[in-house]
Amino acid sequence: MLVPYSWLKDFIDIRVPAGQVGERLSCATIGVEEVRCEEKDCVLDLEVTYNRGDLLSIIGVAREVAALYQLEFRGEEKPFDPPSDSGRLTVRAAQGLSRYYTLTQINSLRYRGTPKEIARRLELAGLRSVNLFADITNYVMIEYGQPLHAFDAERVRARDKTTAVEVRNAKEGEEITTIDGATHNLKTSDIIIADRKGPIAIAGVMGGKETEVGPKTKEILLEAAVFDPIAVRRTARRLGLRSESSNRFEHHLSINNLLKALNKAVKLYQLYGKGRVAAFGCAPQEGIGAHRPIWREPVNLNKERLNALLGMEVPLPKARKLLERLGFKVMSADKGVLAWPPYWRGDIQIEEDLVEEIARMFGYENLPATPLTSVASGTPPNELEYFRYQASQLLAGAGFAEIKSYPFLSTKALAHRGTGKLLKVRNPISAETEYLKDSNILSLIEVAGANASRYSSGRLFELEKIYPKEEYLSLSAIVWGVPEAYRTAKGALEETLIKAGVDVVFSPTKHDLFHPGRVAKMTTGKEALGVIGEVHPYINKSYDLKNVAVFELNFEKLVKHAQRWRAFTPISKYPEAYEDFSFYLPPERALGTLVSNIRRSSPLVKEAAVTDIFEREGKRSVTLQITFQSDTSGLSSKDLKPVREKITNLIKGFEGEPRA
């Protein structure tokens, strides 16, 4: 809401600089985006939120400033009362669409240009001056917060002999061209004003082109209404036509204010347009005295509740004064006060609302800071967070940089994967945010690809939610640009698994994103945990990557199986003996299985570690270092002989061919 500072002075005698008022408002009332000052005037840009719809008007802001600075608010117009000689218009409003609808016919208008001051103020308030008859409606809307609309009366065809217009939902197939020149196909949920021929305005949103007022207009039908906020909101949103007007209808408009605004508008049409009120009509028709309470439903304020919620003592008389300054009617009540919000404060409905009014007027700077004294809930340490921290630290220590990637799959990623089974956003921002990822693999590849021109090799990991049917935390990592990418990724993965105390079996599987023969699934017990493998050469190529390996696992499942504490294995006091076994092993034979078989072959085998693997002339050469140790005695060459033979046989069983 743009508030020209000089306009406020129509209602209050404020002498402090506009900047100071802006500061005060932002500390006690509402956000102030900025205070812009030009030669003659300043404009305060208020960030009006839904609760303070009353501040979408000059008088609302003036009232608030008056309360903050304890100034006199000079008051606005009296409520409109149609002159006794005016005729009667009948208007109809369908149930639930408008709380109050008025139409005032003003005749014998003579056009002139909009007075300079009105045009200037409108411009400062962010509106363009169009023509006098339209400008008056906008001027009064800014001043009172009550949107008005003027129809050219000679172009409105009365519905029948008695009824001028009607507020109703649109019918299927109806359309309207609005004053901006656009034509809209209306839906039955839209709220419109209609004459005999059909829609003449989208209620509360925008008027129709056909009945638009202009310099040639002689008679107008001036509409002032309180439409159903939800109906206006829905219609405006659906048509993408949210405006100054529709925005105000979404708030708590009051009939009281409507009548004052109407009076002001009529006066301006009389003053500048020389018009004369010819007829008036309203719906419901009980007359304008009804439905316009000055006070809203009273709200009880308990003194103890006030002090407890604030955490400080505000003397009741003080609280009472502060409310009165804001226009509340306050009376003593049991254990506190009863406060009637003024009609313009539709946001005040519960005790807590009053507490806020008192607190902000009393000044938040006076609020003490009281430490939290309550006990903690005493739940045990958080296992998920522990393992999360541990895995992240471990991977970072192993050279992986942690990334945070977007939850969506890019169109490029989708080209590799397709969109099958993915969760879809109904209103994506662009094609890049339409599908939620069900795996982090392509995101890692994409981020690696983006880095590849500067980093020919690298390692990344991420620990973040992914969104297959049931979302879960995924731990994923990528290694690129190193000769043994698979082993590098697997080494980091194995260390992570060891630290989590989870035993995992790797077995061949199929996965579209991976090299067809180089992808394994991980399982622990019977549960599938994830995949690891070399990325498919086609995908590598499209991201300019070489030698890429990726793993991804369900971190929540991992944590379910993880063990924070691992039992100690006694360390033998007898010396270890080391022995290397070098042999050729065909690539199709599983070295991992061989190693674990060797580990299990004898209690004397403490460790079997791969110390070297290389390939030459199509042959895979492997060196295993075996650590022998007994828990009960020293080891002689004789003791080792049977174990050694067993290992040699195991190697032969895997078609291993001893190397000289």
């Binding site: 932002s26 956000g31 809930s377 956003v425 880095n451 390692r459 979302e471």
Partner: protein, 343 residues
């Protein structure tokens, strides 16, 4: 060799010695258990006369002393030489170290650890709520029924009418109250939970905005929770992040699920409130908070006439950007190693 010859020869050899090891060897050669001089000592008891024994003994002892002396002197000289050699050997101390294999934790992870620790000290524990959330937990139960204009504060990505990508971590609120209200009511265990996690909004990506962002939220429900507690919490956190003595102020702010609602500003730590490029006018708008709306408490199964609660939250992306001087939010989410390797 007689004693005199031993003396001469040993002294000559010792004076030639280049290293401590040589001295040890020479000491052994002459004075060791089977050393040349020791052998002469061994012959002494076999000498015929007392006088011979005494004279020879004296002579040998004199030779021994003189060898020891020479060894000692030579040792000092050698050490001196070695020291000088160590001192003068060229060695470039500024040679860059060998690159250790070290990755990094994302700055958001680092901040998460910091914030979690800060609030764990106050007894808050992590709560988890889904990213793909129902309209109810994200809006409806937070006092924003469908068509409530308050929803305009959030531009939302929907999967369908009832399902959306959560717009804030405040979706923990009613979920956690539902889980914990019984212990609160029956065992007087306060609800103290927090969440540091990601959220989403309908927003085009530019240097200041992303559709994916991070939020921190905490919820505290107990008897007698007050706005003064909220003030203390705000002071505590801002001091944690920006240092002791950081000033904090409240301003009225509207969130549909709290009442009263406040915006929490910290006095800019860079210009101390004078106004600068980072803060604009001296205060940084950093957090939002308020007293849990009674309707929300009721929705969580808690009687607002007996209990009160506070909700407090901030945007970690923004705090990180301010604290670390990051000028483009996209760095946090696009995985550029030139960015990540700095942390």
């Amino acid at each position: 060799m007689n004693a005199e010859e031993i003396k001469e020869k040993s002294i000559a050899e010792i004076s030639q010695a280049k290293a401590i090891d040589d001295l040890d060897r020479l000491r052994l050669k002459y004075l060791g258990r089977r050393g040349l001089l020791t052998q002469l000592f061994a012959e002494v008891p076999g000498l015929p006369s007392i006088e011979d024994r005494r004279k020879t003994g004296e002579t040998l002892n004199a030779v021994k002393d003189s060898i020891e002396d020479t060894l000692g002197r030579r040792e000092r000289i050698i050490k001196q030489l070695e020291k000088r050699e160590l001192e003068t050997a060229a060695f470039d101390l500024t040679v860059p170290g060998k690159k250790a294999l070290a990755g990094t934790l994302h700055p958001l992870t680092q901040l998460r650890g910091f914030v979690r620790e800060a609030f764990e000290r106050l007894g808050f524990e992590e709560a988890y709520a889904p990213h793909i959330e129902t309209d109810s937990y994200n809006f409806g139960l937070l006092s924003m029924p469908p068509d409530h204009p308050g929803r305009d504060l959030w531009d939302t990505l929907y999967l369908n009418d009832q399902t959306l990508l959560r717009t804030h971590t405040s979706n923990i609120q009613v979920r956690e109250m539902e889980k914990r209200s019984r212990r609160l009511i029956e065992d007087d265990v306060p609800i103290k939970v927090m969440s540091f996690d990601r959220c989403f909004r309908y927003e085009a990506v530019d240097p200041r905005h992303t559709h994916t962002f991070t939020q921190f939220d905490l919820l505290y429900v107990d008897k007698g929770v007050s706005m003064a507690n909220l003030k203390w919490l705000s002071n505590y956190f801002m001091e944690c992040v920006f240092g002791a003595g950081t000033r904090v102020r409240f301003r009225p702010k509207y969130y549909p699920f709290v009442e009263p609602g406040v915006g929490v500003d910290a006095l800019c730590p860079f210009c101390k409130g004078k106004g600068c490029k980072i803060c604009g006018k001296g205060w940084l708008e950093l957090a939002g908070a308020g007293m849990v709306h009674p309707t929300v408490l009721e929705n969580g199964g808690i009687d607002p006439s007996k209990y009160s609660g506070l909700a407090w939250g901030f945007g970690p992306d923004r705090i990180l950007m301010i604290k670390l001087g990051i000028n483009d939010i996209r760095y946090l989410y696009e995985g550029d190693l030139r960015f990540l390797k700095q942390f």
